[in-house]
Symmetry: C2
Subunit: 143 residues, 2 copies
DNA sequence: ATTGAAAATGAAAGTTATTATCATTTAAGG
DNA sequence: CCTTAAATGATAATAACTTTCATTTTCAAT
């Protein structure tokens, strides 16, 4: 999805909710949509302040909540006690390999695993609405 | 593993580390070994206080850290922002199905998924040392 | 049993990430 | 240009965890 398309969806969501489109929201959303990492609020706030110096952490927090609620961002919790946000993956859902030494994160997709997850859940009468699969270990460079 | 066997392992671990075996540690460990749930520190502290009323939360916290470090307890993080502890499963490693409505937790094992995880990691040159697989959804009663 | 050094305890304070409050500013429709 | 509801940023509050410290307890060596 293109940047402008995302900004359009955000505007629509904001209008529909009776909210207002502000300078800060514009800047924070653009900064976020630009990233390709799993970014924390602290990290994102640094980026945003370079464009609008006065911006408060709370506004970044609230805007990321907005983006998450609207479905334009995904929030993730890896091992480090911080919430991280990532853009919607163009290729669809993915899971993560995380290096416990250098924190490198590799994304992967595995249709077979996903299917087995659903099979397993079904066996217990569960309806899965989301899941978390994280593999922690050593990346090639840290092995 | 029997209760006494676990207590023996704990004693050994404590001796080897040059630590001391106290009344509180005995009580907290027994209370924990008795549980079959994924218990939080608050919950465990309530149980412990019924046997030794003066026991402080910090002591429960420190003892569970000890049990985790010694390999006699597993710490888990589900969605609710609290650390939970569970006994070593007699049947070996398992993963979890979690009901987002009633918080019921069902444990499952799936060898195929485990193998696919390792295959996937290997494809990226990763060595997996642990993983987290949680399936969130609705249990049969809440569907 | 007594002693003494080292470790454990419990209350309280400190940490850290997140979330809420509130006075002031701003967006946007009329 | 006005109105007013929402947004902002500084700050305070929360919540779970972790540390500190004065006091108590353990336990090996008398
Ligand atoms: Mn990702
Ligand atoms: Mn379990
Ligand atoms: Zn690495
Ligand atoms: Zn349920």
């Amino acid at each position: 999805m293109k940047l402008d398309e995302k900004m359009g969806l955000l505007r629509t969501y904001i209008e529909n909710q009776g909210l207002k489109f502000t300078n800060q929201r514009d800047c924070i959303a653009r900064c976020f949509f630009r990233t390709r990492t799993h970014i924390s609020l602290d990290e994102l706030t640094v980026k945003v302040k370079k464009e609008i110096p006065g911006t408060g952490y709370a506004t970044v927090y609230r805007t990321m909540k907005l983006l998450t609620d609207s479905g334009l961002a995904l929030s993730r919790h890896f091992g480090d006690g911080q919430t991280r946000y990532e853009n919607l993956p163009a290729t669809g859902h993915h899971d993560h390999l995380i290096c416990v030494k250098c924190s490198r994160i590799i994304e992967f997709q595995n249709e077979k695993i996903e299917n087995l997850q659903n099979e397993t859940a079904a066996r217990f009468g569960f309806t899965v609405i989301n899941h978390k699969l994280e593999l922690y270990g050593y990346c090639p460079e840290c092995s």
